[in-house]
């Protein structure tokens, strides 16, 4: 290899493929990879060199590209509802808005800790809901809303399309036509946080 090692300082911006050190010197941590004993950066980020623990990592400067993983909190729009399950178009993973979308599935048994009879009491098409990924079996992202912070965060009236407002604990009402609807809402429903 013709390229020379440069002495790197913590906080310096590094690019994919830039050498950070050798494995005899440091333990490679997040944002790095090892090839032939040399530690390289694999993202654009700031190099963090911990001389005390002999660790080197790269803190990403870009909201990293990501796909849903088990445990990630996602936000999506309900695209279809059947009595047993709903399909969700995920457009946000963690804090990252996606340019495309992923499809997730929410089953009635994963909505609440208690028994839920029908998916129609949980969400309707075009609602925006926050959920957690619990499994990626069979090439599908299975979601759950079994938490106070998870559930519908935006819902629209199935009669006139107006935005529903919270009435009581789980009741929603349309301010335009007065229709009452049922949803599994998140604790911060209607606060504009997605």
């Amino acid at each position: 290899m013709s390229l020379q090692f440069q002495k790197r300082n913590s906080g310096q911006i590094v690019l994919p493929g830039e050498p950070l050190g050798v494995i005899e010197e440091f333990v490679p941590d997040t944002g790095t990879y090892v090839k032939d004993g040399t530690i390289y950066s694999k993202v654009v980020g700031r190099a963090l060199i911990d001389f005390l623990n002999k660790r080197v990592s790269v803190f990403p400067l870009v909201h990293g590209a990501r796909a849903p993983k088990v445990g990630s909190i996602v936000v999506g729009q309900v695209s279809s509802v059947q009595s047993q399950m709903a399909t969700v178009r995920i457009f946000k993973i963690g804090k990252k808005l996606l340019s495309g979308f992923f499809t997730g599935v929410l089953h009635v048994s994963d909505v609440h800790l208690r028994f839920v009879e029908s998916m129609f009491d949980v969400c309707k098409p075009s609602d925006v809901l926050r959920a957690k990924v619990i499994s990626e079996k069979n090439r599908t992202y299975h979601l759950t809303t079994k938490d106070k912070s998870l559930g519908v965060v935006y819902a629209f009236c199935s009669h006139c399309g107006g935005m529903l407002q919270q009435r009581g604990r789980s009741g929603l009402q349309c301010p335009r036509c007065g229709k009452s609807e049922k949803r599994k809402t998140a604790i911060d429903y209607g606060k504009g946080i997605i």
Partner: protein
């Protein structure tokens, strides 16, 4: 077009645009030129003007094309109808389909494809103005756009061409040199790992000439790499770390 029989290299050893044999065309690179894409880059190399955009990782449709253990990299190289002297039909030509494959295979070794199973990454390369060696310029831009999208990569990929015109090995061919000259060797290179990811040869070269052309192209790649790094750094110098 009438084929002019002018000399490609003058008595002083300079080429038509006044370059020496081992000189690159002037290069200007901008990272993050498009706000809608996850990552993008714009590059001007001489009269070449190329825009690259990256979208993804995202869900793959139709779903049966998805791979269970890795992501699919899709690449589309397209020349704008106004990019060449005679209007080019916007429909993908044979050449564009081939170049899409060439670019994909040149950047793929740099990407950790196994990190995002069942997803796709789309790379769109749009040639706004073409003046020879567009495949090389496209690869340089595409790898920058991928890095800008935050996709984990082993290294950046740089590409540069060398060729033979009038018995001389020269760097970075432009359109007329490519057409009139006798050989063209595009090389894509990962500068930190020292790996060649694309090597083609169009024309006839002797063994020694070929070796010389490859080495010259790699030297060119290293020069472009410093510009690539500068451009990528320039975008992020002002950016603070992202909070998780």
């Amino acid at each position: 077009m009438s084929q002019k029989t002018e000399k490609l290299i003058d008595k002083k050893g300079l080429r038509l645009d006044g370059r020496k044999s081992d000189e690159l065309r002037p290069i200007k690179i901008e990272v993050g030129a498009l706000s809608n894409a996850d990552g993008s880059a714009y590059i001007e190399q001489g009269k070449n003007k190329i825009l690259a955009a990256v979208y993804g990782p995202r869900e793959l449709h139709p779903k049966h094309m998805a791979l269970p253990d890795r992501m699919v990299l899709r690449c589309r190289y397209h020349m704008a109808p106004f990019s060449v002297q005679e209007r080019k039909s916007p429909a993908p030509s044979r050449r564009e389909i081939e170049l899409s494959k060439v670019i994909r295979e040149a950047v793929e070794p740099a990407i950790f494809v196994e990190y995002y199973p069942r997803t796709a990454i789309d790379v769109f390369v749009e040639v706004l103005q073409a003046d020879g060696s567009t495949r090389c310029t496209s690869i340089t831009a595409a790898s920058l756009a991928l890095a800008d999208a935050g996709i984990p990569m082993r290294d950046l990929v740089v590409a540069c061409s060398a060729g033979k015109i009038e018995d001389m090995i020269v760097l970075d061919l432009m359109d007329i040199e490519d057409k009139v000259g006798s050989a063209d060797v595009p090389v894509a290179f990962m500068p930190n790992l020292g790996v060649i990811t694309l090597l083609q040869m169009d024309g006839i070269l002797t063994h020694e000439e070929f070796e010389k052309a490859v080495n010259l192209a790699i030297e060119g790649c290293k020069k472009i790499y410093t510009l690539q790094k500068e451009a990528l750094r320039a975008k992020y110098v002002s950016v603070k770390e992202v909070e998780e």
